[in-house]
Symmetry: C2
Subunit: 391 residues, 2 copies
Amino acid sequence: MTHPVTGGDLQRLRRLNALSALAALRAGGPMTLTQLAERADLARATIKVVVSDLMELGWVAQMDPSGGEKGRPARRYRFRGEAGRVLGLDIGAHKVLGVVADLDGNVLHTTREPVTPEQPRAERLAAVDRVVDACLTGSGASASDVWIAVAGSTGYVDLQGRVVLSRAIQDWSSVPLADHVGARLGCAVLVENDSRLAALAECRRGIARDTPNLIFLHVGRRAGAAVVLDGVPLRGGGGAAGEIGVHPLFNLGHVGELLQAVPAVEPGTPPDAVAGAVFEAARRGDAGARGAVLRYVKVLALATSAMALTVDPDLVVLGGGFSRSADVLLEPLRDELETMCLRTPELRASVLGDECVAVGAVCYGVEHLSKTLFNPETGPLPADTPPPLMV
Amino acid sequence: MTHPVTGGDLQRLRRLNALSALAALRAGGPMTLTQLAERADLARATIKVVVSDLMELGWVAQMDPSGGEKGRPARRYRFRGEAGRVLGLDIGAHKVLGVVADLDGNVLHTTREPVTPEQPRAERLAAVDRVVDACLTGSGASASDVWIAVAGSTGYVDLQGRVVLSRAIQDWSSVPLADHVGARLGCAVLVENDSRLAALAECRRGIARDTPNLIFLHVGRRAGAAVVLDGVPLRGGGGAAGEIGVHPLFNLGHVGELLQAVPAVEPGTPPDAVAGAVFEAARRGDAGARGAVLRYVKVLALATSAMALTVDPDLVVLGGGFSRSADVLLEPLRDELETMCLRTPELRASVLGDECVAVGAVCYGVEHLSKTLFNPETGPLPADTPPPLMV
DNA sequence: AATCTTAATGGTGGACTTCATCATAAATTC
DNA sequence: GAATTTATGATGAAGTCCACCATTAAGATT
């Protein structure tokens, strides 16, 4: 009912102040004591004690004096992002992508390996293992340096991180992905829907950086969606939020097929290239192709407006493979949406490319760590010890 | 990025503890010092000081000793809900309903006045004024006792509380409702969509008390919806969340008309009674009526499943005028939803009746006060002084 | 009716945290 | 080299919480 206001001990106040300082340092970059005192709204003397505590714990390091200022040069302090590592995985239909980042979310290393949708589960898991190993060796980290791993997978992922159902990947439903990766790394592993992570990535570092309420539209041969509200990916009561694709009127699972039979596309074009060819023809002005695109956009708009009317976002981000053809899609989609919405959201194309999901996984991991590690109950734990296992 | 961890002064710690004690007292009812110390996780000595502070401020009062226990009888303390009043208004098409409650949300008085959808704006506002006055005199309160008023109105209400657009009520779009009521009461006035308030009421005190994620379906001659996520009504980027009714495929604005032309209903039945007659006939087993109900339910299910797939609720609550015929609607609607959802939500009928919106308005007001008054920044202000104007 | 048990109450001292203030130190600038 | 600017270090004061102990007030027992 009322939101939890927790006071407590004097030591707790100290913890609160330490966390406040740490948060200010993380958000505002390297700072002097005076700046930090101002941002955290604490006295200099207090901040000094707090910061020296944090340095002992390993969370904060002193930087080389920069000089260039007028008076006595102030010591500058920074958050030690290198204290731990976050691993982001994108397990898609055609590739497995691994990204290692520090606690600030800076990407340190990327590994990618191709897979096919038809591969059996064991082979795909082996590919995941190889990517994880390559990530570790490539970034010079050991398994114990990784504090949390987040894996994005297609399909409906429930609140416990189980892949309940996947249509895009063969033999993948109810795969024990978290256990598999967790056994290898010995850290907490979160599994999330890939669209949701992509949406988060666009919201944090992409086209939606200034927009907390958005719908991410994953368009490709299959279509999916994710919703972000107040900057937080919406999971819903069971993790199925955004799965508008199964609605009987929209049938987004096969909406990509609307882009098949167009005269302008030569017979014999490989299936994966058909859509691109249609877009290309539409770009050139081919009437048949434009008609196909319009039919496709109409269906997409119907589904999108249903979601938009439900959650009233400020922005719709067009992502996924077809977003490369945003120049052809954006305008007609915008026109269609205009006719169906009460408060038509803006429409923009994704900008993060194919590392989108992995970057979102890193963001998700960093934020999860923030919530659990930097917790007022436990205070900032020593940075050297890896965090306790959590889910 | 990181959620705000604010520490601060020693006095701030005291404020935090005072608020923590107050929150515990509000949530847990009257308590002894020992119980309170346990709930707020503070030492008895501390709680004692905090509580005597709160008594001086007027937030807490001592109760009569109850006795009946074994040892020395403990003094029991309670939150002084009577320190202020919250006014909830439901401005509907056919009635204006006013409810006065204390800060605990206990309803003290109710006033109702009939109106018609066709009445001009001035008449409707005059009716609102009369209801407000009757609420004050009826509950023995003066205008300055009312700390906040919340008005529920049909139509699209934006984030600033402006009624942007109303189709159900004539001459109502962009009415300056908050200003009008605020001028009369001299307190903050919030305006919200009525379905959203009804949803909140069901979530706090109705059929959904244990369910934080739900969709409230307002069914009647016109249909509307509202979404509650994690116990919070979803407004969206511009306050239009839940307005699925304007979607071209669902046309919920006139979905009630599907219940018109049924042979079992005698010609000449007044328009308002037709739907009820159809439901009655369907209840008796009339085939034509059952068919009409089924057609109606199909449309409703399409819209509901679109929303459900978007936000993945645990529950759909059937409310509004037609929910009186839930016995006829629930089962077919459940069956239809079953075929369209990935994770089919539970389906229940509203239980709060026609005071639903006003009760939701009170809940909303109480919770808004909790957020603004009981704010760690300002600490618990003296209870006697009415709160500063806020929006 | 006197005594025992139970549990709340009141008070004291100690430990801790934060803050304001002042004198000092280390750079740049003139 | 002096003046200026800014950071640093140290001290004392004030505020807050907690553990502990003796005291008080009621019901339960004999």
